[in-house]
């Protein structure tokens, strides 16, 4: 062990002017180093225009306050706010997270302050920024979805994402997302109460054929689809023989799920004629481009935020550079551009 001088007291600097230039060690993406090419980044999702196609995924970004410490939220195409329920929820007991090969499992269980608190305290904050605000809702009954849609459309959000696919709650949640008739019923009720605000339904990957649910939701009047939610998974500590998560199972996200997301976006884009917000493991521009080529109009970044708060901006810039290298004038020209083998 070395001398005391290697341990440090908080103290105020007592002089010593900063001399010479130092290397920039900031992790923030630097515009000056990599000038962005002139590619139009704007996209449209169910009539909602966005300055760029990169949204942050619900549940990974809270209500934006924390990441606003790192950058202006106006740099994002949109923000899917933390999932709301009609009444406040405390969520599940911890541990709620487990690291897995190129992924994470979570079992948060929709902890949130309730839709009224969101409208009163969080929405005015989010509205300060030049970005699209997408509220995400979960209900125990179709009626609850209806009440929340009414409140949120009156409060003024840009879009409502109807979550019928949360794997971490007992009532409602994923049950609505795995049965086509229930998914359709929730969609109809949401549409009937959302007024002019577009309704996007978030689909579960935990089904045999995701196109069956997508078609049911489309016929029920959904304006857009978002996919995929997390895939149910489990991790066990081999020494204690206990699952890491207190709920035993949770939802898998991160790069491990990207190929599943790309496949499902591709299948759904062929099955229905609705715009798609693609998500699942996006960590760089190329990942976003894959989802767009598969059929997505825009993409969401989620788990990548935990390693890198700047991930959404890096995805945005990487996507723009990729489009420029391919000689595109608009990022939106990537959408649906996959050339499948016959």
């Amino acid at each position: 062990m070395s001398e005391k001088k290697t341990l440090f007291l908080p103290k105020h600097n007592v002089g010593g002017a900063l001399t010479g230039s130092r290397p920039d060690l900031s992790v923030r993406p630097s515009r000056s180093e990599q000038p962005l090419p002139t590619v139009d980044q704007s996209v449209t999702l169910a009539g909602m225009t966005m300055k760029n196609p990169v949204v942050v995924a619900s549940g990974t970004f809270g209500f934006g306050r924390e990441y606003n410490q790192f950058y202006d939220l106006g740099e994002l195409g949109g923000i899917c706010a933390k999932g709301l329920t009609l009444h406040p929820r405390e969520g599940n007991p911890a541990p709620r997270i487990a690291e897995t090969p190129m992924g994470i499992l979570n079992s948060v269980g929709l902890q949130n302050p309730g839709v009224d608190a969101f409208i009163a305290h969080e929405l005015p904050f989010l509205r300060q920024f030049d970005t699209r605000v997408i509220a995400n809702i979960s209900g125990n009954t179709p009626e609850e979805y209806g009440i929340m849609c009414q409140k949120l459309s009156q409060a003024g959000v840009d879009m409502i994402e109807v979550n019928i696919s949360c794997p971490n709650v007992k009532a409602g949640g994923m049950a609505y997302g795995t049965r086509p008739e229930l998914a359709a019923e929730v969609t109809e009720v949401a549409k009937a109460h959302a007024g002019a605000v577009p309704v996007m339904v978030k689909l579960s990957p935990n089904v045999t054929d995701i196109t069956v649910i997508a078609k049911a939701v489309a016929e029920a009047g959904a304006d857009a689809l978002s996919l995929i939610n997390t895939i149910r998974g489990m991790r066990i500590d081999v020494n204690t023989r206990r699952p890491i998560l207190k709920m035993n199972t949770g939802g898998l996200s991160g790069p491990a799920v990207l190929p599943v997301a790309v496949r499902m976006v591709w299948e759904v884009s062929q099955a229905v004629d609705l715009p798609i917000l693609g998500m699942g493991g996006v960590a760089k521009g190329e990942d976003a481009a894959q989802l767009m080529l598969a059929g997505a109009s825009a993409v969401a970044v989620g788990t990548a935020l935990f390693a890198d708060p700047y991930a959404p901006l890096k995805v945005r810039d990487g996507l723009t550079q990729l489009a420029a290298r391919q000689g595109l004038s608009q990022v939106s020209q990537l959408t649906g551009g996959v050339l499948p083998w016959n």
Binding site: L18, V27, G62, E66, E90, A94, M102, I104, F306, D308
Partner: protein, 259 residues
């Protein structure tokens, strides 16, 4: 205002076969985000792991051009092993300073209680209170003991306990906390960091003597900034707070110790 930046390792030392001591140059991180001892840094440990590792700050200081910060951590898995193997001169991606520290004043006098790898943040508390505090530290055995000479230098008194009796008192720190508070209960507060069972017992002892107690809690963490809500800590009032944003330090009476 938290920052994320590449921070150079300028000193590294193995304190025992499991514990590593690192000093980092952290830019203006201390100047911009230091609140109190007991905060943590969230460190990216290689490219293959998606989650950062939260590590308590041992001590830190403002300096120019770079603030300095020290951490001590135990190698417990893939991530901490990667970090332990970084050589001096290499940089690591650090997000900080995160969380709220202990609610304390430089003029205060505290009973600092640390267990195992929970001892390092007590070093920062000892320095912050200017040598007036008392430290009670516990380890599994003598060969796991860390920071003893430094605590001796920074505290009015240091008491040691080991689980196997190989150094100091044979037993747990809560017995020493009771013994100390029975002699002298005029501490401004008991501040503790260590395993949850230890914290629970220390909180109970502090309560018996009517001394306020703050505890630093640990939980599996995601974003580290309060957005993802995974690091839930059950509160006595039935609510769930979050270790990264509301903590890691809580008033011991806020915490639900029965879960």
């Amino acid at each position: 205002m938290k920052v994320e930046r590449k921070c150079k390792i300028i000193s590294k030392e193995w304190l025992n076969p499991d514990a590593v001591f690192l000093v980092l140059e952290v830019g203006d991180m201390v100047r911009t985000s230091f609140r109190a001892p007991g905060q943590f840094v969230h460190i990216k440990c290689g490219d293959g792991l998606l989650l950062r590792r939260p590590i308590s700050v041992c001590s830190c200081m403002e300096d120019k051009p770079d603030d300095l910060l020290s951490i001590i951590f135990e190698v417990r898995g893939e991530g901490t092993e990667w970090l332990a193997n970084r050589p001096v001169g290499h940089s690591v991606d650090v997000l900080g300073l995160a969380g709220n520290g202990f609610s304390m004043k430089p003029e205060g006098r505290y009973l600092l209680v640390g267990g195992g790898i929970g001892v390092p943040p007590m070093m920062g508390c000892a320095q912050y209170s200017g040598g007036k505090s008392t430290a009670i530290v516990g380890f599994r055995s003598k060969d796991k003991a860390i920071l003893l000479p430094q605590l001796e230098d920074s505290c009015a008194k240091v008491l040691i306990a080991t689980d196997d009796g190989s150094l100091g008192y044979h037993g747990f720190v809560d017995a020493l906390v009771r013994q100390e508070l029975a002699e002298d209960s005029h501490y401004d507060a008991v501040l503790a960091c260590g395993p949850k069972l230890m914290l629970r017992n220390v909180a109970k002892a502090a309560e018996e003597f009517g001394v306020p107690c703050q505890v630093s809690m640990e939980e599996r963490m995601g974003c580290g900034v309060g957005a993802c809500l995974v690091c839930a800590c059950d509160m006595a009032d039935g609510s769930r707070k979050h270790v990264c944003k509301d903590g890691p330090v809580f008033d011991s009476k806020e915490v639900d110790w029965d879960v």
